[in-house]
């Protein structure tokens, strides 16, 4: 893409996210969300392939409808209470409409249908932006209104998201779709705790962004778009495949990796709120996700030497691995022992 155009779009993404995150008036929050939606469209449709165009169309339609619902909810609240403050969303119907609007923006079930197809149609780096940076403004809005939202609705959306994220990811062979369902599943964990302890939602989001950035960047450096490519990707960078195993298990939430921390704290908080059956259900539903993470790890690593293979490591390296992957991978594997310090940061 033209570098100046790319600069304009990336700068608009930063601008839109900053506007929404730092706003206290609903109109500014809506403006930021719209700028984000517009600016990411050319990044999704960069390759001009029909699948990419379809992904851009689907993204635009769902996000525009969700922004309209955000506007309706804020206007209903302004009509009934006379003010536009984001933290003062008191009218119950406004809270309901806002919850469904943010669920559409994030990709929570039952508004998740656009997410795998959009992620499949976009390049891996744009997919990374869609999964991490584009989730932050809607999550911020949910965070700011969390004290007035309906807990039952959010818990139902969360459990359905974890269930469908795990179940629908099982039959996938394309890595981008697997990562989309992984994202839906993690969003379920984020949504379940937001009315009880919103800081845990943010902690879960930050650690999820860290781990999924590692996975996306690893897959981008090995140009792995499907499982069969993942099987032979070790010949290009064997150590990267080995680290991918640990990162994927961290993403699945296995101790002693970082990914266990948010799940642990969320289960503890749910138990404190006298919701132990809910905590059990959501943990069991995460086991479905564990299966496809294990399948990815098997394809990446468990077929490595020393047992017999019919490939050897390639002698040439096209381009060295991005050092950022090393930093992100180290963080996403080893942050669990400093968990008390992490809690003081968020």
């Amino acid at each position: 893409m033209n570098p100046q155009a790319k600069l304009v779009f990336i700068a608009s993404l930063l601008l839109g996210s900053t506007i929404t995150i730092s706003s206290n008036h609903w109109i500014m929050a809506w403006t930021g969300l719209e700028i984000n939606t517009l600016a990411i469209l050319p990044l999704i449709s960069k390759s001009h392939h029909p699948r990419a165009i379809e992904a851009a169309t689907k993204y635009f339609l769902t996000q525009a409808a969700a922004s309209a619902l955000v506007l309706f909810s804020s206007m209903t609240n302004a009509w009934h209470t006379g003010q536009w403050d984001i933290t003062q969303l008191t009218h119950p119907m406004s809270c309901l409409i806002l919850t469904s609007a943010i669920a559409m923006k994030l990709g929570l079930v039952p508004f998740h249908f656009w997410f795998p197809e959009v992620l499949q149609g976009s390049p891996l780096t744009t997919g990374l932006i869609l999964s991490t940076a584009m989730k932050l403004p809607p999550l911020t809005l949910l965070f700011m209104t969390s004290h007035s939202l309906n807990p039952t609705l959010l818990v139902i959306l969360a459990i359905l998201s974890t269930a469908l994220g795990g179940w629908m990811g099982l039959n996938q062979t394309q890595t981008r779709k697997i990562l989309a369902f992984s994202s839906i599943s993690h969003l379920g964990w984020m949504a379940i705790i937001i009315t009880y302890n919103p800081k845990l939602t943010l902690l879960n989001f930050y650690l999820y962004a860290l781990m999924t950035a590692t996975v996306f960047m690893t897959l981008n450096s090995m140009k792995v778009l499907k499982l069969s490519t993942l099987m032979t990707a070790w010949t290009k960078a064997p150590s990267l495949s080995a680290i991918l195993l640990l990162t994927l298990l961290s993403l699945a939430g296995l101790p002693p990796m970082t990914g266990f921390l948010p799940k642990w704290l969320i289960i503890q908080e749910l138990t404190k709120q006298d919701m132990a059956p809910t905590a059990t259900i959501i943990s069991l539903l995460s086991l479905l996700g564990l299966f496809f993470y294990l399948r990815l790890a098997y394809c990446a690593t468990i077929t490595l030497p020393p047992h017999t293979t019919n490939h050897i490591k390639q002698w040439h390296i096209n381009k060295p691995t991005n050092p950022l992957i090393a930093i992100l991978a180290s963080l996403s594997i080893t942050l669990l022992p400093i968990a008390p310090m992490i809690l003081t940061i968020i």
Binding site: M1, N2, A5, V8, F9, S12, L15, I19, I27, M28, T31, E34, I35, L38, A39, L41, P42, S45, H48, P50, I53, A56
Partner: protein
């Protein structure tokens, strides 16, 4: 009065329906016109007539006109112009008919100034005028960000349709 406002609301929804269910963009634009006019009428019923006029001018008089011009240029890339003799003769004939109609209708006398209209009083502070003033003074941040959003829309559309047959709007 209430029924008329509700009728305007119905027209707005039907116009939106017309846009969404259009068989082609040429007919979809008709729905946009109906929806915009109904929206303007609703704004007038709320009392903010200035904003309603701004909406009509910018939406129907600006964006819709640009759309119609681009569509007609795409349909007829080499149109006839004024200097073609057939067009000049046509224009003269039409002008003659208009003049005869004005004189016969007595409108020309009215235009020449026979009566004096009573002065209309404007309210000293109107919400929509002062709202626009705030938009340029205290609310200049929203003006800049809104302007950037619109400019960004232009860039996005240009980037999406760039490339003719290799771009996004190709027949696949």
């Amino acid at each position: 009065m209430m029924e008329f406002v509700l009728f305007l609301g119905l027209c707005f929804v039907l116009g939106g329906l017309g846009v969404a269910s259009n068989p082609s963009p040429y007919y979809g634009v008709m729905g946009l016109v109906v929806a915009a006019v109904a929206g303007c009428g609703w704004l007038v019923s709320l009392g903010v007539s200035f904003v309603s006029l701004v909406l009509v001018m910018v939406y129907l008089g600006g964006m819709l006109v640009v759309f119609v011009y681009s569509v007609s240029l795409a349909a007829d890339p080499y149109p006839e112009s004024w200097v073609d003799w057939g067009v000049v003769g046509y224009g003269f004939g039409m002008g003659l008919v208009v003049m005869v109609g004005l004189v016969v209708g007595g409108v020309l006398g009215m235009v020449m100034g026979e009566g004096v209209l009573g002065s209309e009083e404007l309210l000293s502070v109107r919400l929509d005028f002062s709202g626009v003033a705030v938009f340029y003074s205290y609310g200049v941040g929203l003006l800049l960000i809104g302007g950037w959003g619109l400019l960004l829309t232009l860039f996005v559309v240009l980037e999406l349709v760039r490339g003719l047959s290799r771009g996004a709007i190709r027949a696949v």
